[in-house]
C-alpha cells in the first residue's frame, strides 16, 4: 500500500444555528493540496456561514476541523490566521481612513511594535504585488481606491500573513468581466506556488471556468463534491436548486435568451431625464449630464461597477437629493422642485438597494412598515387619523399575497429574513397604483426561489405596461431582464445597448471606462 498523505483541510460534521434557524446541517467538506475549490450554491445555502465557521467568526454548534490530518480548534480569526487560513469577505473588511499598508499590517506581528516603522512591510507588499499580479499602491488611502483595487488589498492582506488556504467569498461581485479574468489569473498563480483556494460563488459559469473541484451546498446541506471534469452544467444546476424549482419554467436558468418585449415604444416616455447633473461637495460630479428615457412596458437596465453614481442618480430622480442641473419629467410633467412625497404620490415606487438601512423601519411592526410612504393617504389615514384596522388588513393581505413568512402583521419587521424583507418592500411598492418602478439590486443576497419569484413579478408588471428602471451590479441579471442597458461610469452614461447587442465583455469595457463613445 502506498502511503497516502492526508488532505490539506477537512471539515467534518459542521452544524450551525442562528436562534431557531439551522443554517448548516452536518456538513463535510475536503480541500486538497494545490487546488481551486469552487463552493457553489444559491444565497442562503450556507456557503458563507460554513467559511465563517472555518475562519473563526462563527462558533459551530457541532463538528471539527482537521488540518493536514490533525484536529485544530479555531476560536477566532486570530487562530485561523495562525493556522494559515485567510479569508477575503464579500464586504471588504477595511478601514477606509487607513492606508493600504496600514490595513495590511493591522493585527499582524510586527517586529517593531513600539515604532510602527512600515518600510519593510511596504517592501514585502510590493514584492507580493509583483509575484501574484495584484497591482496596488501601498501608500494610497483605501477610501480613494476603486472596488477592484480594494479587493486586491483584501487578497494581499491574506497573502501577507502567509496563508496556505485562501477563502474568497463572492469575489467577483463588484468586478468587471475583465477584472474577473485577471483575478482568476492571480488565483492560478497562487495555486502554482502551492496554495489552495476556496472560491465561494453563486455563479455557475465562474466555477466552470476556473475551479478544479466543485462542491455544492443547498439549504445548509452538502450535496456533492466532484472534479470539474466529471460534472456537467446541468447536473450542477439541478443540485443547486433541488426540487424547489421547475427548471423548464425558470427565468434564472433559462437556456435561451428571453423574447423581446412586445411593447412598441411609441408615445411619450413615462420617465424622461435630460442632462441631470449632481455635484458632490468635492466638486467632482456624482451624476454627470445623464439623459435617459423609460417607456411604459419596458425594462431599462443600468449597468456599472458599484459606486459609479447609481444611488445618486436614483435619489435625484426621486427628489431625495437635489440635482444641480437638468430636467426630470414624469408622464409629461416637469417634476422640478417636487418633494419626494409628491413624486411617490404621482405614481413612482422605489425599491432601494440597502434593504435594512433604506427600506424598512426595523423596530416597527410589519403593519407599520406596510404603509411607509402612503401613511398619509386614504384609506390608511383620514383627516390625519390612522385607520389601524384597515392598515392591519392591508398588511395581512400583502403577507398572504407575497408569501411573506411571518407570524403576523404585528411582528417586528427587523426580525424578517432578507428574502422576506425584500418581498415586503416589493409588495409595498406594487400594492399602489404606479406607473414607474425603480429597482436597485433587487435580488442581491436572496435565495434562488425568491429571485425567481421577484423576476416573475417584474416581468409580469412589465407585460402589464409598467415602466421599470432596473439598476444592478449583477450583469447577468441585467442581461436577463432588460430590454435595453445603459452603462454608468463615473456618473455619466457611457453607452447604450439594445437587447440584441448585449455582450458581456462589451459592457465590461464600458463599465471600466475604456470605451470611447461617440
Amino acid at each position: 500500500m502506498k502511503q497516502v498523505s492526508p488532505p490539506l483541510l477537512q471539515l467534518q460534521g459542521i452544524s450551525k444555528s442562528f436562534g431557531p434557524l439551522l443554517a448548516l446541517k452536518d456538513v463535510n467538506l475536503t480541500i486538497q493540496h494545490r487546488e481551486i475549490h469552487g463552493l457553489l450554491g444559491g444565497n442562503g445555502a450556507g456557503k458563507t456561514t460554513l467559511m465563517n465557521v472555518l475562519f473563526g467568526l462563527y462558533k459551530p454548534n457541532a463538528g471539527q476541523v482537521i488540518l493536514r490530518g490533525q484536529t485544530i480548534h479555531i476560536q477566532s480569526p486570530r487562530d485561523a490566521i495562525h493556522h494559515g487560513i485567510g479569508m477575503v469577505h464579500q464586504h471588504f473588511l477595511q478601514v477606509p481612513h487607513f492606508t493600504v499598508v496600514q490595513n495590511i499590517v493591522l493585527g499582524s506581528r510586527l517586529h517593531n511594535r513600539p515604532t510602527l516603522n512600515l518600510t519593510r512591510a511596504t517592501e514585502r507588499i510590493q514584492d507580493l504585488c509583483q509575484r501574484f499580479g495584484l497591482e496596488a499602491d501601498p501608500n494610497a488611502h483605501i477610501i480613494d481606491l476603486p472596488m477592484g483595487v480594494r479587493q486586491r488589498v483584501e487578497i494581499l492582506k491574506a497573502l501577507y500573513r502567509g496563508v496556505d488556504v485562501l477563502i474568497l467569498d463572492e469575489p467577483t461581485t463588484n468586478l468587471t468581466p475583465q477584472e474577473v479574468d485577471s483575478l482568476f489569473e492571480s488565483l492560478q498563480r497562487m495555486v502554482a506556488e502551492g496554495m489552495s483556494v476556496v472560491f465561494i460563488t453563486h455563479k455557475l459559469r465562474e466555477v466552470m471556468q476556473v475551479c478544479d473541484t466543485i462542491s455544492v451546498l443547498r439549504a445548509g446541506e452538502h450535496q456533492l463534491t466532484l472534479p470539474r471534469t466529471q460534472v456537467s452544467e446541468e447536473l450542477i444546476v439541478r443540485t443547486m436548486v433541488g426540487s424547489d424549482i421547475d427548471l423548464d419554467e425558470s427565468i434564472l436558468f433559462a437556456a435561451t435568451a428571453p423574447q423581446e418585449s412586445s411593447s412598441s415604444r411609441t408615445g411619450p416616455p413615462v420617465l424622461d431625464v435630460q442632462g441631470l447633473t449632481l455635484t458632490a461637495e468635492s466638486n467632482t460630479p456624482q451624476v454627470d449630464d445623464v439623459s435617459l428615457q423609460v417607456h411604459a412596458g419596458e425594462i431599462v437596465g443600468i449597468a456599472g461597477v458599484a459606486g459609479n453614481g447609481q444611488q445618486e442618480l436614483l435619489e435625484a430622480v426621486l427628489g431625495i437629493r437635489t440635482a444641480d442641473r437638468g430636467q426630470i419629467r414624469f408622464q409629461n410633467e416637469e417634476l422640478g422642485h417636487c418633494s419626494t412625497r409628491d413624486r411617490l404620490r404621482r405614481g413612482i415606487a422605489y425599491v432601494p438597494e440597502d434593504r435594512v438601512q433604506d427600506g424598512i423601519l426595523p423596530t416597527a411592526t410589519i403593519a407599520q412598515n406596510s404603509i411607509l410612504g402612503v401613511h398619509d393617504r386614504p384609506p390608511y389615514s383620514q383627516h390625519g387619523i390612522l385607520k389601524w384596522p384597515i392598515i392591519t388588513q392591508h398588511a395581512q393581505h400583502l403577507i398572504a399575497e407575497y408569501h411573506i413568512q411571518t407570524q403576523g402583521a404585528g411582528q417586528q419587521a427587523g426580525n424578517l429574513s432578507g428574502g422576506n424583507l425584500q418581498r415586503l418592500i416589493l409588495a409595498r411598492a406594487l400594492a399602489q397604483p404606479i406607473q414607474l418602478l425603480i429597482l436597485h439590486n433587487p435580488t442581491s443576497g436572496l435565495d434562488i426561489p425568491t429571485v425567481e419569484q421577484i423576476y416573475r413579478q417584474i416581468r409580469q408588471r412589465r407585460q402589464e405596461g409598467l415602466a421599470v428602471l432596473l439598476v444592478s451590479d449583477d450583469l447577468d441579471e441585467l442581461m436577463l431582464l432588460s430590454d435595453r442597458i445603459a452603462v454608468l461610469y463615473r456618473g455619466a452614461l457611457v453607452g447604450h445597448l439594445q437587447q440584441k447587442d448585449f455582450d458581456k465583455y462589451e459592457i465590461g469595457r464600458m463599465m471600466s471606462g475604456v470605451y470611447n463613445h461617440v
Binding site: F18, L57, H91
Partner: protein, 312 residues
C-alpha cells in the same frame, strides 16, 4: 507689570486645564475603540466625592486620588460590561451610570460626613517646581511651577499622541473604532480593547473629578463639577477625537473659564450670572464654527457583535 499679569493668568489656565484634559482624553481614548461614553458628569462627581473623602479620612491627597481612580475604573468596567458584553445601548447605559454616579457621590458624602454645619476641608495640591526649568522667564512659572496633576495631564496628552499614532497598538485600537469587524478579522481583540479603554477612561474621568476639590477650595459640594463633564464631551467632539486638538481645545476651555472668573472679580459691568454663562455659550458657538471639520470614529457609539448577520 503687564507681563506678570499674563503669567498669572496663564498659570491659572494651566491649573484649570487638568479636568478638561483628563476627562476629554479619556472620552477620546474610549471613543477610539468605538465606545461613546456620556457618564462623565456622574463619574467625575463620584471621583470628586471618593477622592475628597479618601483624602479627608487618610490625610493623604495621593490616597484620595488612587481611590478616585479605583472608583472610576469600576465605573468604566461596568460601562464596558453592559455595552460590550451585554450589547446594550451605549447612550442609555451611559445615562444610567451618570444617574448612579450622581446618587452615589452624594450618598457617600452624606454617609461619611453626615450633616454638619462646618464642612470638612482638605489641603489643596501644592506646586512642585521643576529644578532649572522653573527658572526660565515667563515659561517657567507657567509650565514648570505647577502641581503634579498638571504635569501628569500634559505628559498624558503627549503619551497618547505617541501611542495612538506611532505604535502598532495604537493602530489596532483605532481600527476597532473605525471598523471592528475588520479589526476582529485580523485578530485584533475587539472586546478586550474596549474593556481596557473604558477602564482607563473611567479612571481619567474620576481623577478629573477628584482634582476639583483638591485644587480650589479644598471642600466638596454637590455642584462641584458644574457641567464640566458635559463640556468635556463637547471638547472631545470639537477636538475631532484626536489627542493633539483636545489638548489645544482644553487650553481654550480653561481660558474661557478663567476669563469668566476674572471678569467677575474685576467687574466688567455685566451681572456675574451672564459671565458665568460664557463657557457654555462659547462651547455652542465653537461647535457652530467647527461642525464641518469634525470627524468621529466611524463606529462610535455602536456595539459590535461578531455573529451579527447584517453586513456593516
Amino acid at each position: 507689570m503687564q507681563n506678570s499679569q499674563f503669567v498669572q493668568f496663564a498659570s491659572l489656565v494651566m491649573l484649570a486645564i487638568v479636568p478638561y484634559i483628563l476627562a476629554s482624553q479619556g472620552t477620546m481614548l474610549a471613543g477610539q475603540t468605538g465606545l461613546f461614553i456620556v457618564s462623565q458628569e456622574g463619574v467625575m462627581l463620584v471621583g470628586a466625592s471618593v477622592g475628597f473623602l479618601g483624602a479627608f479620612l487618610s490625610g493623604s491627597l495621593l490616597i484620595g486620588l488612587l481611590l478616585a481612580a479605583l472608583s472610576g475604573a469600576i465605573a468604566g468596567l461596568a460601562l464596558a460590561y453592559f455595552t460590550t458584553t451585554l450589547k446594550l445601548d451605549q447612550f442609555v447605559i451611559g445615562l444610567a451610570i451618570f444617574f448612579l454616579g450622581l446618587g452615589l457621590s452624594n450618598l457617600f458624602f452624606k454617609l461619611v460626613v453626615g450633616v454638619t454645619l462646618q464642612p470638612p476641608i482638605i489641603p489643596t495640591l501644592k506646586a512642585v517646581p521643576i529644578p532649572l526649568l522653573s527658572q526660565i522667564p515667563i515659561l517657567g512659572p507657567i509650565l514648570f511651577r505647577q502641581n503634579l496633576m498638571v504635569y501628569f495631564s500634559i505628559l498624558l496628552s503627549l503619551f497618547l499622541i505617541y501611542f495612538l499614532y506611532y505604535t502598532s497598538w495604537g493602530l489596532s485600537l483605532r481600527a476597532v473604532g473605525e471598523n471592528p469587524k475588520a479589526a476582529d478579522s485580523v485578530g485584533v481583540p475587539v472586546a478586550r480593547s474596549r474593556y481596557i479603554t473604558a477602564i482607563v477612561a473611567g479612571m481619567l474621568m474620576a481623577l478629573a473629578g477628584a482634582y476639583l476639590p483638591m485644587v480650589y477650595t479644598g471642600s466638596y459640594t454637590d455642584g462641584i463639577v458644574n457641567g464640566r463633564g458635559w463640556l468635556a464631551i463637547a471638547l472631545t467632539f470639537l477636538g475631532g477625537w484626536s489627542p493633539h486638538l483636545i489638548f489645544v481645545g482644553s487650553l481654550f476651555f480653561a481660558g474661557v473659564e478663567i476669563l469668566a472668573l476674572r471678569a467677575q472679580v474685576l467687574g466688567v459691568g455685566l451681572p456675574y450670572q451672564f459671565l458665568r454663562m460664557i463657557p457654555y455659550l462659547a462651547t455652542i458657538f465653537v461647535m457652530l464654527l467647527t461642525y464641518k471639520r469634525l470627524r468621529t470614529p466611524a463606529f462610535l457609539g455602536l456595539n459590535y457583535d461578531r455573529e451579527s448577520r447584517t453586513s456593516i
